[in-house]
């Protein structure tokens, strides 16, 4: 951790969706800390609960989803206990979010300028329209949009994909939040545009010192931008640590498997990929023990019966939830 000041403290958060088919435990007891100025990556496949977790922090969870346990503390305050009014104050002002598909998040019938100013005017009653306009132009320039004054008058459809994502970032940052949640911000973009946006986010993070929770399934993007990484699988955090530990010294079989299964551009030989066998978990009928056990090649008998404990496995808060660590520790102890 760069700084010991804790900005966000998530403890044993549980989120379930109550559907006709039964309860789906989308997030099943996750805990982590996020320091100030820190970029935390949350990696996982679709359905691993990474977005749901973020939505519940910012209070955007929709029916039939409900937080059923745990706590989320933002600068010491319990976010989950907020009233609607407090939530509105919290969202946008202290925490804001950018989404995967900028086109669906921008209102097509309002100009970009209008939407940018709205974000500011809603949260700060004492800002004049003139000041809001100037601030919006300044934000557009910050995110690298040329001709900002002309762009203010344009509609979202007049922007290209990359430009829209820039506008979204400008809108998210206009109230200078302490925390930005980025939910797959580059997934819908092409690689060359993705590189531009990542560069921009790194740059802004350096300038403003905000913290970022970066949700993605792309390990390359994580390696690029994050300080710490949480790997999620079926609603659990299976491994957590700083970026070097996760990529060079992974402990959990799922993290190892993911890293091994990725084709890379920087290898010399054409090697055969080593896939993770099996199919993703059906969250309606999750396995009784470790959720990864049915696909794990190192599966023990205990894995099928009991959930593994989350253990400290290395320096710098490197933790992993796997029965193998328990076995190793026992063997080392003997």
């Amino acid at each position: 951790m760069k700084n010991n000041e804790k900005l966000l403290e998530v403890r044993d958060l549980r989120v379930s969706f109550f559907t006709h088919a039964g309860e789906v435990k989308a997030v099943d007891g996750i805990s982590y800390d996020l320091g100030e100025h820190e970029v935390m990556g949350i990696v996982g496949e679709s359905g691993s609960g990474k977005s749901v977790e973020a939505y519940s922090i910012i209070g955007l969870l929709q029916n039939p989803g409900r937080v059923i346990g745990g706590s989320v503390k933002f600068m010491g305050e319990d976010v989950l206990a907020y009233s609607e009014e407090q939530k509105r104050e919290f969202r946008g002002n202290k925490v804001s979010m950018i989404f995967q598909n900028p086109m669906t998040c921008l209102n097509p019938v309002y100009t970009i300028g209008n939407q940018l100013m709205e974000a500011l005017l809603c949260h700060n009653k004492d800002v004049t329209r003139k000041a809001a306009y100037d601030r919006a132009v300044e934000m557009l320039e910050l995110v690298g949009i040329n001709n900002a004054r002309k762009r203010m008058r344009q509609y979202p459809h007049e922007f290209s994909g990359g430009m829209r994502q820039r506008a979204m970032i400008a809108m998210a940052l206009i109230c200078s939040p302490k925390l930005l949640i980025a939910d797959e911000p580059t997934t819908a973009l092409d690689v060359t545009i993705q590189a531009q946006i990542l560069e921009l986010m790194k740059d802004i993070q350096r300038k403003t010192g905000m913290s970022i929770i970066f949700i993605t399934h792309n390990l390359g993007v994580v390696a690029e931008i994050c300080d710490r990484v949480s790997v999620m699988y079926a609603g659990h955090i299976v491994e957590q640590g700083n970026v070097n530990d996760i990529f060079y010294r992974p402990k959990h079989p799922y993290t190892e498997g993911l890293l091994r299964s990725m084709p890379r551009v920087d290898t010399k030989e054409r090697e055969r990929l080593i896939p993770i066998e099996g199919t993703p978990v059906d969250l309606l009928n999750p396995p009784k023990g470790c959720p990864f056990a049915p696909r794990c090649e190192k599966c023990l008998r205990v894995c099928l019966e009991h959930k593994p404990p989350f253990l400290q496995v290395g320096e710098d808060a490197h933790g992993s939830a796997c029965w193998l660590h328990v076995k190793e520790m026992k063997e080392a102890g003997e």
Partner: protein, 327 residues
């Protein structure tokens, strides 16, 4: 080595309506020439809208080409100059396609058995009753599903399994050549490698030739023998895959490679990047001269006036760039 497919100066324009009595044409594929050897995998990479999917489909004549020449196994199947345009039905048995989005490309009202068997009933009318069913089961078996799955509907499967059904459907008629149009981009990371490995095994077993289209250069590099890079409807570079990734010639290929984030924190942060400015121009109104000149860091006066020539600069290494012509 024998060439299975040869494409010369292929063009595909789409006519679109711009207003009342006003039409324009989208130049989706503009003057593309290449060939594919028997048994190899040719990868095609490019950003969205660069025409890679259109090219794949035009090659199979799912779209009718605007002009150019397509030769399959020595026989021209399309030639705009000589006015050749053969009926495709016999060729459908030899050339197949795997689509990008497995859930959208499978009919939700047909069972998996019917989907896989549909092409068989057209191309193999000799297979009846038990033989027909056995053939379907055999196909499902090849892609790692089993005969029980034949009576289920596509929505009962996960994304990875649906893609397997798509592959079984393509393989049912025993084709020689398959266009894989982004077969893994809709799948989860841990499933992608399963499908890639399966495609590689099937190629070995059945001596298939692939045209592998994707936007992810690391996957394309892994599976392909040679790679072609497309930008705004044109092929800008084509070479053996290791050579293309280690010694790219065209500035666009260079920037594409440098933009890929590596799953290795120290390497990816130390990497020198060639970040392109701006966005891809519209294919409705492409730039004059070299189509890349609006974003190219090395663009000169000449680039905006004259289109570069597609030339072989090293054995098997083709590119189109003015900077290379000067050398």
């Amino acid at each position: 080595m024998k060439k299975l497919i040869e494409v010369e100066h292929l063009r595909k324009y789409f006519r679109i309506k711009l207003g009342t009595l006003k039409y324009g044409s989208i130049q989706a594929v503009e003057d593309v020439s290449f060939f594919i050897y028997v048994g190899e995998t040719l990868g095609i990479v490019g950003e969205s809208g660069c025409g890679k999917t259109t090219m794949g489909r035009t090659l199979l004549r799912l779209y009718n080409p605007t002009s150019g020449r397509i030769v399959y196994d020595g026989t021209p199947i399309y030639d705009s100059e000589k006015k050749i345009s053969v009926p495709m039905l016999p060729y459908r048995k030899k050339m197949q396609i795997i689509f990008q989005d497995p859930s959208a490309s499978l009919d939700p009202r047909m069972t998996v058995g019917e989907i896989v068997g549909e092409a068989l009933s057209v191309h193999r009318p000799d297979l009846k009753g038990k033989e027909y069913r056995e053939r379907i089961n055999e196909m499902l078996d090849t892609v790692g599903l089993n005969s029980e799955h034949a009576n289920r509907f596509p929505h009962e499967f996960s994304g990875g399994q649906q893609q397997r059904v798509g592959i079984a459907r393509a393989l049912a008629v025993e084709p020689e050549f398959i266009v894989c149009d982004e077969p893994i981009s809709a799948l989860d990371v841990s499933i992608q490698s399963q499908v890639v490995n399966m495609l590689e095994d099937l190629q070995q077993e059945k001596h298939l030739t692939y045209l592998f289209i994707a936007h992810d250069i690391s996957v394309v590099r892994h599976i392909s023998n040679r790679i072609g890079v497309m930008y705004l409807g044109q092929m800008v570079e084509l070479a053996e895959s290791y050579e293309l990734c280690s010694q790219p010639m065209h500035p666009y290929t260079k920037s594409l490679l440098s933009a890929v984030p590596l799953p290795d924190p120290q390497k990816t942060r130390a990497k020198k990047r060639l970040i392109l400015e701006g966005d891809v121009p519209s294919p409705l109104n492409p730039p004059t001269g070299c189509r890349f000149h609006t974003r190219c860091p090395y663009a000169t006066e000449e680039c905006s006036q004259r289109a570069p020539v597609w030339k072989e600069y090293a054995p098997g290494h083709f590119a189109a760039c003015h900077a290379l012509e000067g050398q």
